[in-house]
Chain length 152, copies 2
């Protein structure tokens, strides 16, 4: 099988809309490392933003804008790392990730969509509205963690 | 000291242009974990793009566009994790990171600027030009790794 044909086959088998997912040829332990890396960085950039949303840190629009921009990219990065091949790699992922993929996908999409809304709202600059949407993102993180991640 | 004043002081002390850096209040081992996470994800998204630039993978414009967009954000993420406080945390960072901060900063800026150029070029859609700029980014990665990262 020529590389181009293999490439096309992988894309079709995995049901991707456009092309080779970044995860297509990686070993399971690498996939877990990469998805954990995305979560670590989501924590890095959402942490201070959440604290501002909760009133625990002074609101700083420039930090919110920068961090939310990064989160917009990061919010898409972990999900292709949860392939069935990673099921037996040690991590905090609960069995439900693999047993209830539709529910897991729904939780991912809620998160990415709440982050996208936060990007929109933060562009308009209404602090109260931004804070409200920050809390909606936080709820989407928590909703997914509660059902799909072991207690830390 | 009130939180707002503390916040302003931290920003001034660290010489940031705009606001509280994400790293301001983190423990050194967390900073190292976060900067390594950014490097892991740069590898995830640049790996296939580099292989396309080198002709080792079939060129796929949609993958390049997506990955380069992510890289644009990721290219900014590791650097505030290299604070002097992280000097003694085990990692692949060489002593030069802390001994030659100006040279290290120059290498970071070369990388972020080559990635920004790749974003520009990839928008224009000229495959040969994109491939050339992919190799320029690869060179910027390598230049920094050679002087500042222990051999892997």
């Amino acid at each position: 099988m020529k590389p181009k044909l293999l490439h096309a086959t992988v894309a079709v088998v995995l049901g991707t809309a456009c092309a080779l997912p970044a995860s297509a040829q990686q070993k399971p332990d690498v996939l877990v490392k990469q998805r954990q890396a995305a979560m670590v960085l989501q924590g890095k950039y959402f942490g201070p933003v959440r604290a501002m949303g909760q009133g625990k840190l002074p609101y700083d629009a420039s930090v919110v804008t920068r961090n939310v921009g990064y989160l917009d990219a990061l919010s898409h990065m972990p999900w292709d790392g949860f392939t069935p091949a990673t099921k037996d790699v040690k991590s905090a992922a609960m069995a439900a990730v693999y047993a209830e993929p539709a529910k897991f996908k729904e939780a991912q999409e809620r998160f990415t969509s709440e982050v996208a809304k936060l990007v929109e709202v933060s562009r308009k600059g209404d602090e109260a509205a931004v804070k409200q949407q920050i809390l909606a993102v936080d709820k989407a993180c928590g909703g997914c963690h509660e059902n799909f991640r072991e207690k830390q």
